[in-house]
Symmetry: C2
Subunit: 125 residues, 2 copies
DNA sequence: ATTTGTAGTTACCCAATGGTAACCAGAATA
DNA sequence: TATTCTGGTTACCATTGGGTAACTACAAAT
């Protein structure tokens, strides 16, 4: 799910997109935020993701230095994740994407025919 | 290639990722920048993209209000694209991603065994 | 003795992504 | 007359993404 061609580009921006430019990683980074979180929590908080894909994404984020992983040799096992300095430095960017979207997103007119309208703007957990 | 579940989320951030959270759109927006550009130019500048995918991405970007399309009824046809206000407002975010990557990216040690090293850091056209 | 719980891994399979090549219009050019 | 040029669209096909379910280890609880 990392794009090797992008990651080996000679353009730093293209490489960045190769690293974090898919739909899951920004969501995961945003959900983690500044807290320490366990695998099971992520699995239940991130909407619609499967354990398999979550595992893959977390592994890549760790390899790319955005995430730190702490595995405790207990039973049942416990694994905790938190953002690294690099990952934390990415949070303001996500925040500005949020603001950008809120400012420019075209909200569908409620009840307009032929368009499925959104329900409400509740906050993410 | 837009993720409907994301786009219909009740979380504005998730919706934003549903809209621009794939590998091509940030690249395309970055390539266009502040200029007016023709389809054929984009096709030759954006690396590795096929005409089909480029067409789809441009159409979605237009539908999502990031891009304006001007088709001239000439022969051979001419179509020009430029970023809308919304699209232009996204450029600073891409710029900060670029800076973030340059600051935190772990450059491979040149000549290190077992790793394919990058060539050089030339500028994008 | 069996169940429960965590954090995965693996195999299997279907749906979606995306690439290639052919085709289009219609004027200009050779 | 045939070719070229542009900005697509379409059909076809291979690759990939990603979902589900089963399986793992081992301790603690029932």
């Amino acid at each position: 799910m990392r794009d090797d061609r992008f990651c080996n580009s000679n353009c730093p921006f293209t490489r960045a997109i190769g690293t974090i430019g898919n739909k899951w990683k920004p969501i995961i980074i945003n959900v983690i935020g500044t807290r320490t979180i366990r695998f099971g929590q992520l699995d239940s908080i991130v909407p619609h993701i499967s354990r398999k894909v979550l595992t893959e994404q977390l592994k890549e984020l760790e390899e790319d230095g955005l995430l730190e992983r702490f595995a405790y040799k207990e039973l049942p096992p416990r694994v905790e994740y938190k953002l690294s300095e690099k990952g934390l430095a990415f949070l303001p960017i996500l925040e500005s994407i949020k603001e950008w979207n809120c400012k420019y997103e075209v909200a569908p007119i409620p009840g307009e025919a032929g368009k499925k309208s959104r329900v409400n703007y509740a906050r993410m957990p």
